[in-house]
C-alpha cells in the first residue's frame, strides 16, 4: 500500500496517540517501576525521538510532572552502539526502532526497558564498563612497535579484508550479551569504606572471571587473524581457554540473531572453538 506521500507505510491504522510504557529505576539497587506516557501521533518517529518528546513534555499520561527518562544515545545512526535497550521485549538499538513499524507489530503500546544483563544506573541507562574491560583482557589491539613512520602495514587479500571488516564493525552495544543465556549479570556492591580504586580493582577481578560473551570471542578471531595481531595470538588463546572463555558458550546461537551489525558471531565462535582445541593440545605437549 502506498500513502499520499508515496511511502509504503499503512495509513489506515495510525492511532491518534502513542502510548509508551517505560520501566524506570531511580538508581542502582532501587526498585524499578513502570510509568506511562502519551504522545500525539506523528509519522516517521523512532524511539529516540519519542524519548526526546517525553523529555520536552515533562509529564506522564496522567499529567503529573515527572523527571525525563534517562537514556543513552549519540550518533542516532546505529553506529556508536550507545542506545541499546529492550523494546517490546527485544534487545535492539533505539535509534533504528521505527515507531510506525513497532505500532504495526503491537498497536496498543511501546514498551521500553533497560538491558537486564548490566547493572542499571538510572532508567534505561546501564553500566556497560564490563564490555570495555573485557577488551583489555583479550588484548584487542594490534601491538605495533611505535607510531613512527615505518611504511604501510602488510598487504592483505580482499577476502581477508572483508572478513576483518565484518568483525571490526562491532560497536560494543551489548545486544549479543543481553540475548545470551550464558552471559549473566554481575553487580558488585561497594563495601563500606572501600576506596574507589580498590572497588574498581575488585570489580574488575570479578568480571574478568565471568563469561566474556560473543563479541569478545569474535574480537579474538579478528586480532588473531590480523598479520601483526597474530604475533601474540597465543596470549589471546590463553585467555580464550581460560576462566570465562569459550568453554562457557553453550552454542545457543541467540547472539548472532540480535547483532544489529550482522556480525557472523557463531562462525567466529566455531573458528575459535577449533583454535582453542588446537591450542590446548599444543599447550599439553609444550608443558
Amino acid at each position: 500500500m502506498t500513502d499520499s506521500n508515496g511511502s509504503q507505510r499503512q495509513g489506515s491504522h495510525r492511532p491518534r496517540e502513542i502510548r509508551v510504557r517505560v520501566r524506570r529505576q531511580d538508581g542502582p539497587g532501587q526498585t524499578p517501576y513502570w510509568e506511562t506516557f502519551l504522545l500525539p501521533y506523528e509519522p516517521d518517529l523512532n524511539v529516540i525521538s519519542v524519548l526526546q518528546k517525553i523529555a520536552a513534555l515533562g509529564k506522564d499520561a496522567e499529567g503529573k510532572r515527572v523527571p525525563p527518562v534517562a537514556w543513552e544515545c549519540n550518533c542516532l545512526e546505529e553506529i556508536c552502539g550507545a542506545c541499546t535497550m529492550v523494546i517490546n521485549g527485544r534487545v535492539r538499538q533505539a535509534c533504528t526502532a521505527l515507531v510506525d513499524r513497532l505500532l504495526e507489530q503491537q498497536p496498543d503500546e511501546i514498551r521500553l526497558e533497560p538491558m537486564s544483563k548490566f547493572p542499571v544506573i538510572r532508567d534505561l541507562v546501564v553500566d556497560r564498563a564490563r564490555i570495555f574491560a573485557t577488551l583489555k583482557k583479550i588484548q584487542a589491539w594490534v601491538p605495533v612497535d611505535n607510531y613512527l613512520n615505518l611504511g604501510p602495514g602488510p598487504r592483505q587479500s580482499q577476502e581477508n579484508q572483508e572478513l576483518a571488516y565484518l568483525l571490526s564493525k562491532c560497536m560494543s552495544c551489548g545486544c549479543c550479551m543481553e540475548a545470551c543465556p550464558q552471559y549473566l549479570k554481575i553487580e558488585v556492591p561497594r563495601l563500606p569504606g572501600e576506596s574507589e580504586d580498590d572497588y574498581r580493582r575488585r570489580e574488575m577481578e570479578i568480571t574478568n572471571r565471568a563469561f566474556m560473551g560473543a563479541a569478545a570471542l569474535a574480537q579474538i578471531d579478528l586480532f588473531n587473524s590480523n598479520p601483526i595481531g597474530a604475533m601474540n595470538a597465543r596470549e589471546r588463546l590463553d585467555v580464550l581457554i581460560g576462566e570465562g572463555g569459550i568453554q562457557v558458550c553453550g552454542n545457543a546461537q541467540n547472539c548472532v540473531k540480535v547483532c544489529p551489525k550482522e556480525i557472523p558471531l557463531t562462525t567466529s565462535i566455531a573458528r575459535m572453538g577449533r583454535a582453542a582445541t588446537i591450542h590446548m593440545v599444543r599447550r599439553w605437549f609444550d608443558l
Binding site: S7, Q8, R9, N46, I79, T96, N146, Q158, Q161, S168
Partner: protein, 655 residues
C-alpha cells in the same frame, strides 16, 4: 610513572591520536569524554580519508597538489603552512593507520584501494567499507586502551569538562570536570590541557552531527578567554534525510550514480511521485545548470534546494521542507551493487525502499570550519616546525586545541575526506610540541600551586550546578528553547544569509538566552541528571551562536560556505568580445579589492557578558597566491584569462 600530566578533553579521532602519541612520548594522559570514547561522533564518517598515494602520484598528483586543492576548496581563508604540513604527512598517516589494523578496502593484488571525492581530480580517498570513521576511531581506541592497561592513560568516560582553571598569570593549570552518573564535581591539576571536543552542530537544532556535538567544551574555553576563529563558516551538506531527531547524511554518490533531483511543478502536488508525469516534474538543477545538472558543486546544490523550498515555496511536503532525490529510473541491480550501503541507511530509517520510491532530502548543517584559534610555528620552507610548543596552542598558555574544534585547516569550506585527516594529523603532530611546552615550563609547578586555586574553581562550578535547583519550577522548558534556537540559527545562518535577517536573529537569540538562564528543570535529583546537563550545555550554546551570527553579519562578501546574495560577484553578461573583456577586467578589479578587504580570519573574543567582539587577522597566503574560485560562474573562462595575465608580472617580480 610519568611525571607530566596532560588532560585531553574529547576522545574522537583528534583526542585519541593526541592521547596515544603523548602516552608514547611518556606523558601521563587523563582523557575526559561525555561518552565512552569508542562512541564518539567520529564513528559517523562514512566516505574516507585523503592522502596522496602511489597510484595518484603516477597520475601527476603530489603533496603539493593535495595542499593546493585544500586551499582552493577553502577559498584561501586558511593559513597555508599548517595545511602544507598536513598534506605532507597524509600518506604517512594512512600507512600508520594501516599498521594499526584499519580494515581499508583492498585491490585484488592486496594494495589499499582508493576512490575519488569532490574537489579533486585524483582518487586520493582511502576507505574502509562504508564506515571509515568508525574503523579509524576503533584502531585509535584500541591503542589508547593498550596505554590504559600500562597505566599511562586514565579515562574519565561519562564525565563532562566544565572549564579550564587559570592561575593569576592566566596560565592554564588544570580543569574542572563532573561525573555525569554521580554528579560529583572535581578539579584536576594538569601541566597542559587539550581541547578535542569536535563540532557544534547541535546549536542548529538538528544536523548530521551526533548528540554530543554541542560545542559546550569549546564555549567554556572561549568564555574563559580563548579566541574563536572564523565562526561564521558552517558547511551545509546538500542532501540529508530529514528526521525528527536527526538529519542523516545521504552521500553525494547517489547523484554521482545518476540520481535526479526534482519537485512537482504544482507546489505540494498531493499525488504520489510515481503518478506525477514527467512533464509535471521540475528537474530544477538540470534546467538551471544544464552543464553540470545534478552534479553541481556542493554549495550550489545546497543553495538551489534551499531556495526552491523556502523562497519559491515548492517543497514536496506542506509542513516539512524537502525535495525528491530520485533513483527509481535506475536498474535495481546497479543500485544494489554501487549504492547498497547508503540505500540501506535510508531504508532502515525511513522504512521506505529508495529503489522504488524517490527519497526525500533536504540540506543539513554538517561541519564547522571555524573553531578555537590556534597558533603554529612556520619553517623557512613553508611547513611547520614539528615539536614547537606553539603548534595547536590557543592564546591561553597551556591550552591546546585540535580536530573539528580548531579553526586551522579548512578555511571557508572543507573538502570531503579532509576532516578525518586533519583530526588525526593535528593530534599526532601537536603531541611533541605539547610535551616540549610542559617540559619547558615551571617544573613541578603542579604540586606547588595553591590549593585555593582549585577550591575556588570547584566552588564556582558547584554554585552554578546548585543554582539550577533553586530556580522557580514554572520557568521555560530547556528542550523547547533549544528547538527555537535551532530554528532561528538554521533560518538565518546557514545556506543563504541576509543582513536584516541576521540582525533579527541576533535579537531573537538574546531573548532565548535570557529565557534559557531562567529555564526550569523537570528533574531536581542529583543522580544522573541529564536534564540539568542539557540545560547547562544549552546556556553555553549562546556565546558560540552569537559569535556565528555576528561573524556572518559583519562579513559583507561571499566566500566558501558563507553566501550573501547581496554581495555576490556578478556574472559576465556581455556577448561582444570587447565588452566581455571590459566586464572581466572590472570583475577582477572587484575581486582584488574584495580579497584585500576580506581575505582575513574572523577572530571573536568573548566579553564578560558573553557578547562577541570581532577583529580580523591577516591570512598567511605566502605559498599559493589567492585566485578566484570560478565554479559555475558565467564567463569564468575570460575572467580566468584576465586574472592570469595580471598575475604574471607579479610572479616574475617575486621570483
Amino acid at each position: 610513572m610519568a611525571s607530566y600530566r596532560v588532560v585531553v578533553v574529547g576522545g574522537g579521532l583528534a583526542g585519541l591520536s593526541a592521547t596515544m602519541k603523548l602516552a608514547e612520548l611518556g606523558a601521563e594522559v587523563w582523557l575526559i569524554s561525555l561518552t565512552p570514547v569508542k562512541r564518539s561522533h567520529s564513528c559517523c564518517a562514512q566516505g574516507g580519508i585523503n592522502s596522496v598515494n602511489n597510484l595518484t602520484r603516477q597520475l601527476g598528483d603530489s603533496e603539493w597538489a593535495h595542499f593546493e586543492d585544500t586551499v582552493y576548496g577553502g577559498d584561501f581563508l586558511q593559513h597555508q603552512p599548517p595545511v602544507k604540513e598536513m598534506a605532507d604527512w597524509a600518506p604517512r598517516i594512512i600507512d600508520l593507520m594501516d599498521r594499526l589494523g584499519v580494515t581499508f578496502n583492498r585491490t585484488p593484488e592486496g594494495f589499499r584501494d582508493q576512490r575519488r571525492f569532490g574537489g579533486t581530480l585524483y582518487p586520493r580517498t582511502s576507505f574502509a567499507g562504508a564506515t571509515t570513521g568508525q574503523q579509524l576511531l576503533y584502531a585509535l581506541d584500541e591503542q589508547v586502551r593498550r596505554w590504559e592497561v600500562t597505566g599511562h592513560v586514565r579515562k574519565f568516560e561519562f564525565w563532562e569538562y566544565l572549564g579550564p582553571i587559570l592561575d593569576q598569570n592566566g596560565v592554564c593549570r588544570g580543569c574542572t570536570i563532573q561525573d555525569l552518573v554521580s554528579m560529583e564535581i572535581r578539579t584536576i591539576p594538569a601541566d597542559a590541557l587539550v581541547i578535542a571536543s569536535g563540532g557544534c552542530g547541535v546549536i542548529f537544532g538538528r544536523s548530521t552531527m551526533s548528540m554530543a556535538c554541542n560545542g559546550s567544551a569549546v564555549s567554556r574555553t572561549y568564555q574563559a578567554g580563548a579566541r574563536y576563529g572564523n565562526p561564521e563558516f558552517i558547511q551545509v551538506h546538500p542532501t540529508a534525510i530529514p528526521g525528527s531527531d536527526k538529519l542523516r547524511l545521504m552521500s553525494e554518490s547517489a547523484r554521482g550514480e545518476g540520481g535526479r533531483v526534482w519537485v512537482p511543478r504544482k507546489p505540494q502536488d498531493p499525488r504520489p511521485p510515481h503518478q506525477i508525469p514527467e512533464h509535471e516534474r521540475y528537474y530544477f538543477l538540470e534546467e538551471r545548470y544544464p552543464k553540470y545538472g545534478n552534479l553541481v558543486p556542493r554549495d550550489i546544490a545546497t543553495r538551489e534546494i534551499f531556495k526552491i523550498c523556502t523562497q519559491e515555496g515548492r517543497s514536496v511536503e506542506k509542513d516539512r521542507l524537502c525535495v525528491y532525490l530520485d533513483l527509481t529510473h535506475l536498474p535495481r541491480e546497479l543500485l544494489d551493487r554501487k549504492l547498497g550501503g547508503i540505500l540501506e541507511i535510508y531504508e532502515k530509517f525511513q522504512g521506505v525502499d529508495p529503489r522504488s520510491v524517490p527519497m526525500k532530502i533536504f540540506p543539513a548543517v554538517h561541519y564547522s570550519m571555524g573553531g578555537l584559534w590556534v597558533d603554529y610555528e612556520r619553517t623557512a620552507a613553508g611547513g611547520l616546525r614539528v615539536g614547537s610548543p606553539r603548534n595547536q596552542h590557543t592564546n591561553i598558555t597551556g591550552i591546546f586545541a585540535m580536530g573539528e574544534c580548531d579553526y586551522q585547516y579548512h578555511g571557508a569550506n572543507r573538502l570531503g575526506a579532509n576532516s578525518l585527516l586533519s583530526c588525526i594529523f593535528s593530534g599526532l603532530m601537536a603531541a611533541p610540541g605539547i610535551l616540549a611546552y610542559v617540559k619547558d615550563g615551571d617544573q613541578g609547578a603542579r604540586d606547588r600551586l595553591p590549593s585555593s586555586l582549585f577550591e575556588q574553581a570547584e566552588r564556582l562550578h558547584k554554585e552554578r550546578f546548585q543554582e539550577f535547583f533553586r530556580r522557580p519550577r514554572d520557568g521555560d522548558n530547556p528542550y523547547l528553547i533549544h528547538q527555537d534556537l535551532g530554528r532561528v540559527m538554521t533560518a538565518a545562518a546557514t545556506v543563504v544569509r541576509h543582513n536584516e535577517e541576521l540582525d533579527r536573529a541576533y535579537e531573537k537569540v538574546l531573548e532565548l538566552e535570557a529565557r534559557a538562564k531562567r529555564c526550569a528543570l523537570s528533574d531536581t535529583g542529583s543522580w544522573t541528571n541529564q536534564n540539568l546537563v542539557f540545560a547547562r550545555a544549552l546556556e553555553d550554546m549562546f556565546p558560540i551562536a552569537k559569535a556565528i551570527l555576528r561573524g556572518a553579519r559583519m562579513r559583507d562578501e561571499c566566500r566558501g560556505a558563507h553566501y550573501k546574495p547581496e554581495f555576490e560577484m556578478p556574472s559576465i553578461t556581455a556577448d561582444d568580445p570587447a565588452e566581455t573583456r571590459r566586464q572581466a577586467e572590472a570583475w577582477c578589479d572587484r575581486f582584488a579589492e574584495n580579497t584585500r578587504r576580506w581575505l582575513k580570519s574572523t577572530i571573536a573574543t568573548c566579553d564578560p557578558d558573553g557578547e562577541p567582539t570581532i577583529h580580523y587577522e591577516e591570512v598567511d597566503t605566502s605559498l599559493i597566491p589567492p585566485r578566484p574560485r570560478l565554479y559555475g560562474v558565467v564567463g569564468g573562462q575570460i575572467i580566468e584569462e584576465v586574472w592570469r595575465e595580471r598575475q604574471k608580472p607579479q610572479v616574475a617580480a617575486t621570483v
